[in-house]
């Protein structure tokens, strides 16, 4: 269960306060792998940041009884001056991992990311592909009930994409995911419900194909079961 109740979020800007969500309601049932789709600027990334606990709500509540990951694939999460290994250790420490757990996590990430000796070089020297390998491996090293993933498997070369998709698929046997992507093939493959986000509203489609169709033809697509107005 993951409920957003009367959520209002705005940012101050030069043009006055800009509301991303105003009295926004959304309820995602248990056991659903959710595809979050919508045009640019609809608030997908903001929603991810809110779910990840990185942003303060103006008002409203987000209620869940599940263990939610940090937003994976968004900017941030790595400290450039530290090595890949030290970044993994840092994340282990803030999750209060024991020494053995930390060794296991470090070994897992090192093996998964396959970046060789660069694992012991500062992250700021990494290419963007290496960064995303490290970040995805780091997130998958920890067991969460719900992973927040922002189009992360779309980067990297073909071999890495295959590998990360397999790992994610395996993980989805016991966890769930909220997945943002503009790649509808990915959404159709991973998700069993779709949330179509438009500025000011969200619509849940329990039929993934229907949701994707509504997204691709926003003007004529059918809008059923409006969850929030």
């Amino acid at each position: 269960m993951l409920d957003l109740i009367d959520v209002t979020k705005s940012y101050p800007s030069r043009l006055g306060r800009r509301y991303i969500f105003r009295d926004f309601n959304l309820s995602i049932p248990d056991g659903c792998n959710t595809g979050l789709i919508g045009p640019n600027g609809a608030g997908k990334s903001t929603l991810m940041r809110l779910l990840g606990g990185l942003e303060h709500l103006d008002s409203g509540r987000i209620v869940t009884n599940r263990n939610v990951s940090w937003p994976i694939g968004l900017a941030g999460g790595l400290q450039g001056s530290l090595t890949g290994r030290d970044n993994v250790r840092f994340v282990c420490r803030i999750h209060a991992a024991s020494a053995e757990e930390m060794r296991a996590h470090v070994a897992f990430v090192q093996e998964f990311a396959e970046i060789g000796a660069a694992f012991d070089l500062p992250v700021k020297t990494y290419s963007s592909g290496m960064r995303s390998r490290l970040m995805f491996g780091l997130a998958m090293a920890f067991e969460f009930d719900l992973y927040l993933i922002d189009e992360v498997t779309a980067v990297g070369d073909a071999a890495f994409r295959k590998k990360s998709q397999d790992l994610l698929q395996e993980r989805l046997s016991r966890s769930n995911v909220i997945y943002t992507s503009h790649n509808m093939g990915e959404i159709a493959r991973l998700c069993n419900i779709v949330v179509l986000l438009k500025p000011g509203s969200a619509t849940i489609y329990h039929d993934v194909k229907e949701g994707i169709a509504a997204y691709q033809q926003p003007a004529i697509g059918p809008q059923r079961e409006a969850v929030a107005a």
């Binding site: 900017a75 941030g76 999460g77 400290q79 450039g80 030290d86 840092f90 420490r93 803030i94 999750h95």
Partner: protein, 253 residues
Amino acid sequence: MCSVVFALSLRELKTRLDGRWGGAVWVVGEPLLNTLAMLALYSAMRAQTIGGVDTLLFLVSGQMPFLLFRSLATRLMDAIDSNLGLFAYRQVQPVDAVIARAVVEVLVFSAVMGACLAGLGWAGHPVLPKKPLELFAAIALLIVLGSALGLFLAVGTAPPLNRLRGLVTMLFLPVYVTSGALMPLGSLPISLRGYFLYNPIAHLLELLRSALIGPAYQASPHVGWSLPILWALCLVLAALGLYRARRHRLQMG
């Protein structure tokens, strides 16, 4: 929160030491060099004693604690910005980065000050504190003042105001000059001493010296604990209040 501060402290220490011997040498060498430069100045003036104590002890007991205060205030100012990437984890809050950096600064100071005093003691200077509790109280107050000012500046000069930071760093020069790190308050003309006595750091340095050296050091009779404690209270309140008011804006960068 403890594990977060611990993790951040280790990360600060790692980047501070740079993973090389050169980094560690610089961390210890910077305050030492600073003190040695002042010592060279006083040697050139052929001053063997200042305020009734030998020059070395006088400088170490003034310069080092002042550097602790200043590096706390100026380095904590950048603590939030240099950890922006790590706020992607919800358990890492901006204040954790400030606390972690303060921990590292205090650790570095303790190591350098300890080494200095040990070296001076080995060379035959009287370094055993005469009033250890007061010495610790003075250092603790310096840490509180520096950390509170650092947190206040970190939040107050958060982007887009971060261009003020250069200016703020320059403002530490008058604080330094009037802190009595380089001359005892008792040796000043009365007309000047009034300005020094507005500076809470000057009070603390005098108190610290008389706690370390004992009655041999002629502390100014005008100094007392009340002004630094009042400053510390006000600064802590201001810093925490400002942080509380703006904490949600700090993670956005």
